[in-house]
């Protein structure tokens, strides 16, 4: 009994510790005070208005969303192709390729960032949005591969074999059978990729060209001067996007799957 209450107490403590900072940001975003901290003086949306009028932040937000969407597109497409190859086909060096694809998760991000930067130098390529996009796709790819692969292993080969025997070519089978059955995993993978890109700061600092900011690097830059209350508002927006988008998507997916079967 004693042990259990102690355990409960610790659990509550851990969660408090984890979520308190987030709660602080969420609450302070609506504080009308001049300074981005306690005490709370009154409820106001003024910092959200200020945010909307801050061109630098809007530009950063636009960059981040565009980067996130393109990363999701590239990482998901490559991830699906890689998973199908790894799960459905036998070839030499398969183990090596799996390890290689997953390795960005294992390598420290700084090392990965510097590595890619040196590689681009060697090719005489300047830092650019494209570099940022390639980099984010590399970081997001392992997550897509892991999610899609897990689902593909669970889809019996019988379905594809049945489709082939009925006259569908390999490509038709992929689009008619494999992809629709994979869809939930594809969706989850794309969301993962978007969120990972949207959140990333370490590698982004290395890769972004001069003058280009994403939301995290923008916040980081603003913090160097002072904790402006605008940052709390921006934090609120980011939390809404990174938490809200997957929740919404999950809800939609459940709604559609229930409607169908």
């Amino acid at each position: 009994m004693r042990v259990w209450s102690l355990l409960k107490f610790y659990t509550v403590l851990v969660y408090t510790f984890m979520f308190a900072p987030i709660m602080v940001v969420l609450v302070l975003a609506f504080n009308s005070s001049q300074f981005g901290g306690f005490p709370i003086e009154g409820f106001s949306l003024r910092w959200f208005y200020a945010l909307a009028e801050n061109d630098a932040i809007i530009r950063a937000l636009r960059t981040s969303v565009m980067l996130g969407l393109l990363t999701a597109l590239i990482a998901t497409t490559l991830g699906i192709l890689a998973s199908v190859a790894l799960v459905r086909y036998q070839f030499r060096g398969k183990q090596w390729i799996t390890t290689f694809l997953i390795s960005p998760v294992l390598v420290p991000e700084t090392v990965l960032a510097v590595g890619l930067l040196i590689f681009m130098r060697w090719l005489h390529m300047p830092r650019s949005f494209a570099l940022l996009l390639i980099g984010h796709s590399i970081i997001a790819l392992p997550f897509v591969v892991l999610v899609v692969q897990a689902r593909l292993i669970g889809i019996r080969k019988d379905y594809e074999e049945a489709a082939r025997s009925l006259g569908a070519s390999p490509l038709q089978t992929f689009f008619q059978i494999t992809l629709p059955l994979l869809l939930p995993a594809v969706f989850a993978g794309a969301l993962f990729a978007f969120t990972i890109s949207f959140d990333n700061i370490t590698a982004t600092i290395f890769w972004r060209p001069a003058g280009m900011e994403t939301v995290p690097t923008q916040i980081f830059g603003m913090l160097r001067n002072s904790v402006s209350p605008e940052i709390n508002a921006l934090g609120f927006v980011m939390i809404c996007i990174t938490v809200g988008v997957p929740l919404l998507a999950g809800g939609l997916a459940r709604y559609f799957s229930r409607k169908k079967i």
Binding site: Y159, E161, R164, S165, L166, G167, A168, K260, I261
Partner: protein
């Protein structure tokens, strides 16, 4: 509809010889069963015919055409799997129509063909449901409908009844056979269940460890097994070590310690050749128990398995275990009783000894 022929067909997976040198003809319009224990290579043969597996060597002919290099989706075969493999994200109607899409069937014919095929499998009106809304037996009928609606040259069935429960399995096997008779498509059926094979087949191919052991009608493989393996696999048999002690125009004479000399008709010794040693095979139902003192070998009843009109006896003759299945006259013999055991030589077979032994 077409005849299928396997010529010296072989398949190895690494060091495993899954199928070795199969030479088989599946006659046009016939229902042929590949029968054997799990792992003997039945599925591998079916997958090679369907194009899902590439032969290591040998040829597959459908009609007169060698199809080794024809890809699966151009072979026009109907495939039915043990797990039905209905597309879960498509309705029954869409499942059945799937194969028609690739066959230039006019739109107005598609609906009619779906309806006809559902009538054939006796499940009319389920077009708009999803596979998960049907029972296992119903799903297997839909799988069959999906395979036959494309009017395949050959229908390939890999243990299609194994996932169903026992009662349903017996009903479905009667129905499946009736459907096959009706549409007359050349069918290759895979099973490890001897009663399915005996009940449904025009011809049975018995396999063991990648080898074809025997090809024949159900009656032939049951009554005249070509090897000790076939005798053991189909039905309950007794196999006794025997010495070949004589041959004449019509008989082979075998001598066993249990029954002395037995003259087996030559037609029941086709695979024996000139061997010195042999196995004397007698079916459990052809071994007759009588009261002690009658002619025959003396045996002790060890266990009685009472089955109503029948009893199955486990017996000991000297040091040999045997089994017999007899109709019960008035009351069965009892465990511990001494009986006399007689066999009809015309119901015996003389088989070569197992190669492995």
């Amino acid at each position: 509809m077409a005849r299928v022929q396997l010529v010296d067909l072989r398949k190895t997976f690494g060091a495993v010889q899954a199928v070795s040198r199969a030479n088989v003809v599946f006659e046009e319009g016939s229902f042929t069963t590949l029968l054997g224990p799990s792992g003997c290579g039945k599925t591998t043969i079916l997958r090679m015919v369907s194009g899902l597996e590439t032969p290591t060597s040998g040829d597959i002919l459908i009609g007169d055409k060698r199809i080794n290099d024809v890809p699966i989706h151009k072979r026009n075969l109907g495939l039915v799997f043990q797990n039905y493999a209905l597309f879960p994200h498509r309705t029954i109607g869409e499942n059945i129509a799937f194969g028609l899409k690739y066959r230039d069937v006019p739109k107005e014919d598609v609906a009619r063909k779906i309806k006809e095929s559902l009538d054939i499998v006796r499940l009319p009106g389920v077009e708009d449901r999803y596979p998960s809304q049907l029972s296992g037996g119903q799903q297997q009928r839909i799988a069959l409908a999906r395979a036959i609606v494309i009017e395949p040259d050959v229908l390939l069935l890999d243990e299609p009844l194994s996932a169903l429960d026992a009662n349903l399995r017996e009903d479905m096997r009667v129905e499946l056979k009736a459907i096959q008779d009706r549409i007359g498509v050349t069918s290759i059926f895979v099973t490890h269940d001897q009663s399915e094979a005996l009940a449904m087949s025009d011809k049975i191919i018995v396999m063991s460890a990648g080898q074809v052991e025997q090809i024949g009608t159900p009656e032939e493989v049951y009554n005249r097994p070509a090897s000790a393996f076939v005798a053991r696999f189909l039905g309950a048999s007794n196999l006794l070590d025997a010495q070949v002690v004589g041959r004449d125009k019509n008989h082979v004479v075998l001598e066993t310690p249990e029954f002395g000399k037995t003259a087996v008709p030559l037609s029941h010794a086709a695979t024996l050749g000139q061997a010195e040693r042999a196995k004397l095979m007698i079916r459990a139902e052809k071994l007759t128990l009588g009261p002690k003192g009658n002619s025959g070998a003396e045996a002790v009843v060890e266990t009685v398995d009472y089955q109503g009109q029948l009893a199955r006896y486990f017996l000991r003759v000297g040091d040999t275990q045997m089994q017999a299945m007899n109709m019960i006259d008035e009351k069965p013999f009892l465990a511990g009783e001494t009986v006399s055991l007689s066999l009809n030589p015309n119901a015996c077979s003389a088989l070569p000894e197992d190669k492995q032994e």
